[in-house]
């Protein structure tokens, strides 16, 4: 007989038994020990049909193919750049993935990106040894000039972006700031100095209250009070906001 030993959406710790019997399937954050499915990390249990997985609440960024990240150039070599990804592993950006311009052999690569520059890039390949290749060919992938970078908990990135980008586009509209959220927990923003500070405050608020329901409404009220303007919900979500949320991609695939 198969049965679930914990409630769906409850918080579990490593080593906690989640289900018994062979009818359930272990997915991310769980493993099977004989006929029992056991949690292997701290997080929230998600049971979808027969599949049991854990949504982590803490932890460093785990690089995945297709993620749009904000990286920092840490080294320049002959053939490309080394990029810090805010994880345990740096990424490589090679010349051919960086620009479509023609670059002479032996040219000084710092004229494109120099050490300490921030870039928006997309992970297009990752090996078992976690060697990461990033590309800058794609819509919205570019070097970041000016503005400020803040760091957030990577596990809360989906909440900051919101369903189909609803949350982030609301913050953008209310403050008039440009914002880019990287899946790796770095966030870039630029705008009027006062509004920049408001964005930082808002993002921290979303991060702290990520678990609350009705958060979008709450943030809307907060922003209206701070800016003194009424926020009209946007009818059509802009494409670039939507593309950012990894969870939305998963949803659409199903």
């Amino acid at each position: 007989m198969s049965e679930l030993l914990v409630k769906n959406k409850s918080i579990v710790v490593p080593g906690e038994e989640l289900a018994s019997g062979m009818d359930f399937l272990p997915s991310f954050g769980t493993y099977r020990d004989k006929d029992i499915i056991v949690a292997s990390r701290l997080g929230m249990v998600n049971v979808e049909g027969k599949v049991i997985k854990i949504t982590p609440l803490s932890g460093k960024y785990n690089p995945r193919r297709g993620d749009m990240i904000i990286g920092k150039i840490v080294d320049v070599s002959y053939s490309g750049w080394r990029v810090d990804t805010n994880s345990a592993y740096p990424a490589m950006l090679s010349i051919k993935d960086a620009t479509s311009e023609f670059i002479n052999r032996g040219a000084d690569l710092t004229q494109f990106f120099d050490v300490d520059d921030y870039i928006v890039a997309s992970i297009f390949n990752i090996t078992s040894q976690k060697l990461i290749d990033v590309t800058m060919k794609g819509p919205g992938l570019r070097k970041l000039v000016g503005g400020r970078i803040i760091q957030i908990n990577t596990n809360k990135v989906p909440r900051i972006i919101g369903k189909q980008g609803s949350m982030i586009s609301m913050v953008k509209d209310a403050t008039g700031c440009k914002i880019i959220v990287g899946q790796n927990g770095l966030l870039w923003l630029t705008g009027e100095p006062k509004m920049e500070l408001l964005v930082v405050e808002t993002i921290k608020k979303i991060e702290d209250e990520a678990h609350m329901s009705g958060l979008t409404e709450k943030i809307k009220n907060f922003l209206e009070k701070k800016t003194g303007k009424k926020i009209e919900p946007r009818e059509e979500v802009r494409n670039d906001d939507m593309r950012m949320n990894r969870n939305d991609e998963v949803r659409r695939e199903r």
């Binding site: 409630k7 710790v13 080593g15 932890g59 345990a88 976690k130």
Partner: protein, 238 residues
């Protein structure tokens, strides 16, 4: 003189009162506070992060590095010299090996997880308190691990067998102190150190008592972790 009663009035198989809390150091990736009687430990976990010098990297598995240290004022009034010494290096190494048995190191090749354990107050059983705190901190840091781990000291004073020795019992002239680390589900022993004399039967009984005793610690560890995320659970509950 016979040893008929414990110095702090506990029963022989009774643990000292336990306090545990997860997430006490905001800048760390994961952290914990664990107190057992008068022995208290902080643990802070950083990582997985990149590992240098490069020759230390292992392409098959990640490594775990433990730093155990007693704070200068932590002892019974005598200043403890800060920094690594023979004793703290040994303890760091045995804790490292105990923790490595539960952490899924193969999930982060070439990188390192750093665990810092500091003891602001000590009354015997420091490596045990350190392991208990580190286990909570690792889980809090979102490190993938097979299971939780906890540790407890058991031992003999005169003719009595007891668990969770305090310093008076640990330093008794006819005493044996055995720190034991146990993995929760399997009950496997991940650390066991002993000096002094025991019979085979006594050791067997003591290991049984340790298995019984750690159950309470596992409960406290679980409670500490769940307390930190209580608000999230309540929001999602029916």
């Amino acid at each position: 003189m016979t040893y008929s009663k414990r110095t702090d009035g506990r029963k022989f198989e009774e643990l000292r009162p336990i306090e545990a809390k997860a997430g006490v150091i905001p800048r760390a990736d994961g952290s914990a506070w664990f107190k057992m009687g008068n022995t208290a430990a902080y643990a802070a976990v950083y990582g997985p992060r990149s590992l240098y010098p490069k020759f230390m990297q292992n392409p098959k598995v990640g490594i775990i590095r433990v730093n155990y240290s007693m704070m200068p004022f932590s002892s019974a009034g005598e200043r403890v010299r800060p920094g690594p010494n023979r004793r703290s290096k040994e303890i760091s190494m045995v804790i490292e090996k105990a923790l490595a048995s539960v952490v899924n190191l193969e999930e982060f090749p070439n990188s390192v997880v750093d665990v810092f354990i500091a003891l602001p107050q000590t009354d015997a059983g420091t490596r045990c308190a350190g392991i208990c705190a580190a286990s909570i901190a690792l889980a809090d840091a979102g490190i993938p691990m097979k299971d939780m781990i906890a540790a407890l000291s058991v031992g003999r004073v005169a003719d009595k067998l007891l668990v969770d020795l305090n310093y008076d019992e640990d330093s008794h002239e006819d005493g044996v102190d055995i720190p034991v680390a146990i993995v929760q589900r399997s009950g496997h022993v991940a650390l066991l150190q002993m000096d002094g004399l025991l019979t085979r039967e006594q050791l067997k009984t003591l290991l049984g008592m340790a298995q019984e005793g750690v159950k309470k610690i596992f409960e406290e560890q679980k409670k500490a972790l769940k307390n930190k995320y209580k608000a999230i659970e309540e929001e999602n509950g029916e």
